[in-house]
Each structure stands twice: as structure tokens, then as C-alpha cells.
């Protein structure tokens, strides 16, 4: 029964939240009653778990939308170039911050990093919208995303090359992704944007499910295909942009989760598919954080290493299992 699968994954999500909050990296007694543990829980552990859930949910939702829109199981926020745009902008702020006087005042404030990430993502999105206006929503747009990613990457390399070693390290660490940098206002902003984006994508799911028939046929069924496609791009940009801004470019979740969800939850009801995606996305992000940071495993890994190590094999498995 499909409905019970959602329940199972929501229960799993809750279990992972408890594990992540009370056990990772070390055990904290939930009813310890000392100020020290309380502070750690409220200032570090709970924001971290909430951030992971938001990131997993937002990236999985945007991956699902892009894969359905482009009818391509490899599409994801990464492929559209959104992440690389954010990355370059943050690179300029972190690395350029020390040498460019104008940016000096902004240097290494989390506000400026987040703002730069969001601006970068949004800028690439605007170019993508311009391209889609001319060429429609075909593979051209994906090709465009990949090429933009390469160009941004080249600029990135150039900036890295010119950077001071300390700045370079700081930027490299940002690039590895983290769920630990959102506290206070930034957590609020992120949760708010994620909820808004998820509600928006929920609304888009019904027309998107008709678009499996192709844009032309969907149009004749009364779907405003152009408006829906445009909204999907904007909603994706919002979700992926805000996550990249606060957590860095998180790889694999956006591409892997929708494929797993589709295989486990075979349905034409895209609204419940979205909820399932969000649950799995949250689970995967939490799991990555737990595996990467739990002292039981005796190693500490940045989030992008774990997403690739867990997400990579999953994507491979799906590709190999797909009917040719």
C-alpha cells in the first residue's frame, strides 16, 4: 500500500531526527536539565537537524520538478547551473573580500555569503529564463546549464588561482557544504523559504502530472504549460538558491532522491509523490549528517563527501536497473 510507505518514511525521518539531535556527534541526555546541554541542543543540534531536513526536502522537491519538466532522470538543481552560479558569487565574496576594498566590509559575514549565494543562483536562473523564453523547455536548457556551469567553473579556478591560501581554504570548506552554519535569523529565513517553495511546488504538481503526456497534449487538456514551466524554474531557483546560499552547494540529493522515490512509490499522483520525495530527501540529508559526524564511526566527513558516497551508488544502482 502506497500510503503506508509515506508513513514509514515519516517515522524513519522522526527516528533520524532523534538520532541526529541527541547522538551526533556525541550523546546528550534529552532530560539532562543542565544549562550546557540545553544550550547545545537549542543552539546547535536542533538547528542542524532542521537545516538538514530543509536542505533535503528543498533539493528533492526541485530535483523532482526539473526531472519531470525535462523528462530527464539526470536533471537536478546542479545541472541547471544554479549551484555553480551561487558558488562563483560566494567565491568572489570570500576570496575577493580581503583584496577588494569595496568587499572588505562584507568580508566573511554569513549575511554576505548567503546573500551572494542567493544572488548568484538567481542570476543564473534569470539567464536560464531568458534562454527558455527563446528555446522552450527542451534539452537545450539542460545543455545551457551544463555549459554555464563550466564557464562559472573556469572563473572559479581563476579566482582560486589568485587567492590567498587562507581564503582558499575557507572557500573550499564552504564548497564542501555544511548544515551547521544556520542559526538564528538565517535558520528562520531558510525554513520560511523552504516552506514557501514546497507549498508552491505542491500547487504545481497537478499540472505537472498532466505534462507527462508532452507539452502539446497537456496544453490541449487545459494546462497552461508555459506558465507552469516558468513557475517550475522559478520555484526551483528559489529552493535550490536558498539552500545553496546557507549550506553551500549540496551534491547528489537533488538528483538521486526523485529517482529513488519514483521507483519505490510508483504513482501518477504527483502530490503524494512530492510528499514522499520530501520525506526521503529529509531522511537522506539527516543520514548523511549522521554518518559524516557521529563519533561512533571514528571519522568526520564534510556533507558533500557523504552525499556523494551514499548518493553516488544509489544513482548508479538506479541507472543500472533502469529498463533500456
Amino acid at each position: 500500500m502506497n500510503f503506508s510507505k509515506i508513513i514509514i518514511f515519516i517515522l524513519l525521518l522522526l527516528a533520524l531526527v532523534i538520532l541526529d539531535v541527541f547522538f551526533v556527534p556525541t550523546f546528550i541526555h534529552p532530560f539532562g536539565n543542565d544549562i550546557f546541554s540545553d544550550t547545545i541542543l537549542s543552539a546547535i543540534r536542533i538547528p542542524k537537524a532542521l537545516t538538514a531536513i530543509c536542505a533535503g526536502a528543498a533539493l528533492a522537491a526541485s530535483g523532482l520538478m526539473l526531472q519531470q519538466l525535462f523528462k530527464n532522470p539526470l536533471a537536478g538543481p546542479y545541472v541547471l547551473g544554479v549551484s555553480s552560479g551561487a558558488s562563483l558569487a560566494v567565491g568572489i565574496v570570500i576570496i575577493g573580500g580581503t583584496s577588494i576594498p569595496f568587499l572588505k566590509s562584507l568580508y566573511m559575514q554569513s549575511v554576505s555569503v548567503a546573500l551572494a549565494g542567493f544572488m548568484g543562483a538567481f542570476l543564473v536562473l534569470l539567464i536560464a529564463l531568458a534562454v527558455s523564453y527563446k528555446f522552450g523547455y527542451s534539452y537545450i536548457l539542460l545543455l545551457f546549464g551544463v555549459i554555464i556551469g563550466q564557464i562559472m567553473g573556469a572563473f572559479q579556478t581563476l579566482i582560486d588561482y589568485l587567492a590567498k591560501p587562507t581564503d582558499l581554504k575557507m572557500f573550499s570548506i564552504w564548497n564542501m557544504g555544511s548544515f551547521n552554519n544556520t542559526i538564528g535569523w538565517s535558520l528562520n529565513v531558510m525554513v520560511l523559504f523552504t516552506i514557501a517553495g514546497v507549498i508552491w511546488s505542491y500547487v504545481l504538481m497537478k499540472p505537472l502530472s498532466i505534462m507527462i503526456l508532452g507539452q502539446d497534449v497537456a496544453y490541449t487538456l487545459g494546462v497552461k504549460t508555459k506558465s507552469v514551466s516558468l513557475q517550475i524554474l522559478m520555484c526551483t531557483g528559489l529552493l535550490a538558491g536558498v539552500i545553496t546560499a546557507f549550506c553551500g552547494p549540496i551534491a547528489f540529493i537533488g538528483m538521486a532522491v526523485p529517482n529513488v522515490a519514483r521507483m519505490l512509490y510508483k504513482t501518477a499522483n504527483f502530490r503524494s509523490l512530492l510528499i514522499f520525495n520530501i520525506a526521503i530527501g529529509g531522511c537522506m540529508a539527516l543520514l548523511c549528517d549522521i554518518i559524516g559526524n557521529w563519533t561512533v564511526f571514528e571519522f568526520h566527513l564534510p556533507i558533500n563527501v557523504t552525499t556523494a558516497l551514499i548518493g553516488g551508488p544509489i544513482v548508479l544502482f538506479i541507472l543500472l536497473k533502469r529498463k533500456v
Partner: protein, 228 residues
């Protein structure tokens, strides 16, 4: 229901494909549209359904120009199918057919619309035994039949079909054309069907449009029909 073409000209990328077509169709007609590849059959159907602009002239449904109907209204008047393959793995056949009821869902807000037509057309096209299968488990021909059932389940007075018999085996093609003729006559529909299965369709059409040299010649008998 009357579908009227008044001096319409159709272009594709500013090359003229059809010159000044004027004709009128009323319910009960099953039009077989033939013509060479690239002649403009698909463009004509796409123009009719609103996917392409009319370069010149007017199309009327019940004496009202089609531009006067808004988008959701048109979905209740005209349905459309092309032979593009649906690339989706984990959707059941019956759920695909259900998508045809989407326009009614919009009209009746969020209520889930079940219609006896979904079952009836799956039955008519021989899909009942595979209705619970996923799209990656069935053949291209079966997928095409499911898509046809989806189009018919939309239950519009005008049905526009662009090579619906693609991927179908001979008995299925025959079954399809027979069903379409029956629907046009008994359920009072106007069906326009572009096809390359000229001989077979010739036995079932009620009107024949042949597109050649930018002109559609209209006849009530096909060549194959008279030969028989």
C-alpha cells in the same frame, strides 16, 4: 456542433502550407486526412487545437471564433493526440487514461472525477487485462492504445488525432478506425484523423481530405473505398 473553416491559411516557419481552406463540418463526420510527409497535416491539427496561430482566416465552433473560447473551455470542446511516445516508467495504464478527465477536474474544483468512460474505452481498445500494468511493462502499441483511450475519455465533441494508428498492429488499426467511425456517427462527434494507413482508413471514414500542393481536396469517397 459545427466546425467551420473560413479562408484559413496555415504556415510553418513562414512557409505557406495550406492556402485558403474553406469548409464546414457537422457532427457525425469521421474525416480521414491524408497527405505526404511534411505536407502540413500535423500543422493543421495543431492550429485547430490552438497550439499554433492561424496566419489568416478564421475557425469557428458553433459560429463563435475559436479565439473567443478561453483555454479551459477549449479543453472541453477539443481533444488531441499525437504519436509522440510517453516516456514515463512508473505510471499505471489506468492512471494514464484517467488523465483525460483533467479538464473536468478543473471545472468541478478539486473533486476526483471518476467516469464510466474510462472503463468503457479501455474495454473497447482491449486494455482491461493490462490496466494495472506500469508503462515500462507494456509495448509501444499498447501504450499508444492507452493514449487513445485517454484522448477519448476526455469526451469532447471534436477529436483531433495525428497518426493515432502508429505502432498498432493490423487488427488493432482496424478496431481503432471502426471505433472512431462508430463514435462519430453514434456519439455525435467530429473526428479528424491524420493517417498514412490510407487503404484501411478508407473503409471507415465518412469524409476524405487529401492535402497536396497547399490545397485540401475534399471528397466523400476515398480511392480505396471506390476500388472496393
Amino acid at each position: 456542433m459545427v466546425l467551420k473553416f473560413e479562408n484559413i491559411t496555415i504556415e510553418r516557419k513562414s512557409v505557406e502550407l495550406i492556402q485558403t481552406l474553406s469548409t464546414e463540418l457537422s457532427t457525425g463526420q469521421f474525416v480521414i486526412l491524408t497527405g505526404a510527409n511534411g505536407a502540413g497535416k500535423s500543422t493543421l491539427l495543431k492550429t485547430l487545437v490552438g497550439l499554433k496561430p492561424i496566419s489568416n482566416g478564421q475557425i469557428f465552433i458553433n459560429a463563435k471564433p475559436i479565439s473567443a473560447y478561453d483555454h479551459p473551455q477549449r479543453a472541453l470542446l477539443m481533444s488531441f493526440i499525437n504519436s509522440k511516445k510517453i516516456e514515463e516508467d512508473y505510471i499505471r495504464v489506468v492512471d494514464l487514461v484517467r488523465l483525460g478527465r483533467y479538464p473536468y477536474l478543473k471545472v468541478m474544483s478539486e473533486q476526483k472525477i471518476e467516469s464510466p468512460l474510462i472503463d468503457a474505452y479501455m474495454e473497447a481498445l482491449g486494455l482491461k487485462t493490462i490496466q494495472e500494468k506500469f508503462l515500462n511493462e507494456i509495448s509501444d502499441g499498447e501504450l499508444q492504445k492507452a493514449n487513445i483511450a485517454r484522448t477519448l475519455a476526455q469526451d469532447t465533441p471534436i477529436v483531433l488525432m495525428d497518426e493515432p494508428s502508429a505502432f498498432l498492429d493490423y487488427p488493432s488499426k482496424k478496431l481503432l478506425f471502426k471505433l472512431l467511425r462508430q463514435l462519430a456517427i453514434e456519439s455525435n462527434k467530429i473526428i479528424i484523423c491524420a493517417t498514412h494507413d490510407v487503404e484501411l482508413a478508407g473503409k471507415f471514414g465518412t469524409q476524405f481530405w487529401h492535402l497536396e500542393n497547399k490545397v485540401i481536396s475534399i471528397s466523400d469517397k476515398s480511392i480505396a473505398w471506390t476500388a472496393n
